[in-house]
C-alpha cells in the first residue's frame, strides 16, 4: 500500500511536470502568435507616452481632489 502511494506520487509528478510544460509551451506559442498578429495589424505605436500618462495621472489626482 505504501508502495502504491509512492507510485501515485511518481505518476502525479510526471503528469504534473508534463502538464506544466505542455501548458506553458502552448502559452509560449500562443503569446508569440498573438504578438506577431498584433504587430502586423498595429504597427509599432511604442510606449513613448509614459510621460503623458504621468501628467494625466497627476491631472486626474488634482481633479479628484477638487471633486471630493
Amino acid at each position: 500500500m505504501q508502495n502504491e502511494l509512492i507510485n501515485e506520487g511518481l505518476t502525479l509528478m510526471l503528469a504534473g511536470m508534463g502538464t506544466v510544460f505542455v501548458f506553458l509551451t502552448v502559452l509560449v506559442i500562443a503569446m508569440t502568435l498573438m504578438s506577431r498578429l498584433v504587430s502586423r495589424f498595429q504597427p509599432a505605436k511604442g510606449a513613448a507616452n509614459a510621460g503623458d500618462d504621468e501628467i494625466a495621472a497627476i491631472a486626474a489626482a488634482i481633479t479628484e481632489h477638487r471633486r471630493q
Binding site: 502511494l5 502525479l12 511536470m17 502538464t19 510544460f21 506553458l24 509551451t25 509560449v28
Partner: protein, 376 residues
C-alpha cells in the same frame, strides 16, 4: 474568597497549557521576523497576531463562534480570500517582461520541479514510516515550493486544512528567506562566465498585447486545464482590469482597499490555524524541512534550465534568471539581479528576471490545478 477563586480560575495564567505558551512564543517570533526583520510583514504580522489571539486560553476566538473562526469559514474554506488576493496580484502584476520574452516561461516551468520533488519527499517520509502524510497532504506540502502564498493557502484549504497553518507559515517564511536560500545554490550551479552574461534589452510591448494576454491565458486554461481556472482566472481578471484602461477605478480599488482588507482577514484566518494542537506536531517540523528542500530544488532546476536554454538559444540567457522562476515576486528577481551585479557590475538583470518571476506564479497555479484535479 470564592469569588477570587472564580476569577483566578477564569484567568489565562491558570488555564494556559504548555502548548499554548509555546505557541505564544512562536507567534511572537513571527511578529519579530515580520516587524524587525521585515520578512513578508503584510502576512507575518497578521498571521502572527492571529496566532497570538488563537492561543489565548478559555475564550472562543479561533473556534466555535469566534471572529477568527468566522473569517476562516467564510474566506478560506470557500477559497474566496486567496482567490481575491490572487485577483489583486493580477491587478498589481506587469506581465510586460514576460510578453517581451515568452521563452522565459520555460524557466518558470522548470522551477515547479521543486513542488513535485517535495511531494515525493513527503510521500517518502510516509514510506519510511517517519510521517503519515496522505497524497492530498503531500500535494499541499509540495505547493510550498511554488513560493506563492495565496496559491499555497488555496491548495491547503482544499486538500489539507489541518496543515494549513504550518504550510502558510513555511511558505511566507521561506519567501522572506529567498535572499539567504538562493544565492549559494545559484553560485554553486553556475560558472563565473555564465553569471557575467549580459542580455539584450527587452522590446517594448504594446497595449494591445497587454490587454489580450490575460484573455489568451484564461482561454488556454479553459481548454487545457480547467481545474486551474479559479486561480488563473482571478489572476487574469485582475490583470485585465489593470491593462484594459477602461475600468481604472476598479483596478485601483483592487490594488489598494480590497487587497488590503482581504489581506488582514486572510492573515487573521490563517492565524486561527496556529492552535497548539494543530501546530505543535512533528508534522510541522517535517513541513518546515520539506519546505526548504522545495525552495532549493526549485531554485536549482530553474538555474539548470537556464543553463540548458543558454546553450541552445541564439540569444544569450544568463542562467541566474532561472532562479527567479520559483516566483516569490519580486524578491527572487531582485536576488537574481544582485547575484548578477556581483559578478558583473554592468549587468542589470532585473527586468529579464521579472519574466520568469511572473511565469513562476502562473506555473505554480497550473501545478496547483493539476494537484487538485488528481487528488479530488
Amino acid at each position: 474568597m470564592e469569588l477570587i477563586t472564580e476569577i483566578w480560575q477564569g484567568s489565562g495564567l491558570y488555564q494556559m497549557s504548555g502548548g499554548q505558551a509555546v505557541m505564544l512564543l512562536i507567534c511572537l517570533l513571527l511578529l519579530y521576523l515580520g516587524i524587525v526583520k521585515k520578512f513578508e510583514p503584510l502576512l507575518l504580522v497578521t498571521i502572527g497576531f492571529g496566532g497570538l489571539l488563537s492561543n489565548i486560553p478559555g475564550v472562543e476566538i479561533a473556534t466555535g463562534d469566534g471572529l477568527l473562526h468566522l473569517f476562516y469559514v467564510v474566506g478560506i474554506t470557500t477559497g474566496a480570500f486567496p482567490l481575491i488576493i490572487f485577483m489583486g496580484v493580477g491587478a498589481m502584476t506587469d506581465f510586460g517582461p514576460l510578453l517581451a520574452n515568452p521563452r522565459t516561461l520555460f524557466l518558470g516551468a522548470a522551477a515547479q520541479f521543486g513542488i513535485f520533488a517535495t511531494l515525493l519527499g513527503a510521500l517518502g517520509l510516509t514510506y519510511l514510516g517517519w510521517a503519515d502524510f496522505s497524497l492530498r497532504e503531500a500535494a499541499a506540502i509540495g505547493i510550498i515550493g511554488g513560493a506563492d502564498g495565496p496559491t499555497a493557502i488555496y491548495v491547503a484549504g482544499k486538500l489539507a486544512p489541518d496543515l494549513l497553518g504550518a504550510i502558510a507559515v513555511a511558505a511566507y517564511s521561506y519567501m522572506a528567506l529567498v535572499p539567504l536560500i538562493q544565492p549559494p545554490i545559484m553560485k554553486a550551479l553556475t560558472t563565473e562566465a555564465e553569471r557575467k552574461i549580459e542580455m539584450v534589452q527587452l522590446r517594448e510591448v504594446s497595449k494591445t498585447e497587454r490587454v489580450l494576454f490575460p484573455i489568451v491565458l484564461l482561454l488556454l486554461v479553459a481548454l487545457v486545464l480547467p481545474s486551474a481556472a479559479p486561480l488563473i482566472g482571478m489572476l487574469a481578471f485582475g490583470n485585465l482590469m489593470r491593462e484594459c484602461g477602461v475600468v481604472d477605478r476598479l483596478s485601483d480599488t483592487t490594488q489598494n482597499a480590497l487587497i488590503n482588507i482581504v489581506t488582514i482577514f486572510l492573515g487573521l484566518a490563517v492565524g486561527s490555524k496556529l492552535s497548539a494542537e494543530q501546530f505543535l506536531d512533528v508534522n510541522t517540523l517535517f513541513i518546515l524541512g520539506l519546505g526548504i528542500v522545495a525552495f532549493s530544488i526549485g531554485t536549482a532546476s530553474g538555474v539548470l534550465m537556464g543553463k540548458l536554454m543558454n546553450r541552445f538559444s541564439k540569444q544569450a540567457i544568463n542562467p541566474l534568471i532561472g532562479a527567479a522562476g520559483v516566483s516569490a515576486v519580486p524578491m527572487a528577481a531582485r536576488v537574481a539581479n544582485k547575484v548578477g551585479l556581483d559578478a558583473n557590475p554592468h549587468n542589470i538583470l532585473l527586468m529579464h528576471a521579472m519574466g520568469p518571476n511572473v511565469a513562476g506564479v502562473i506555473g505554480s497555479a497550473v501545478a496547483a490545478g493539476i494537484m487538485i484535479m488528481f487528488t479530488s
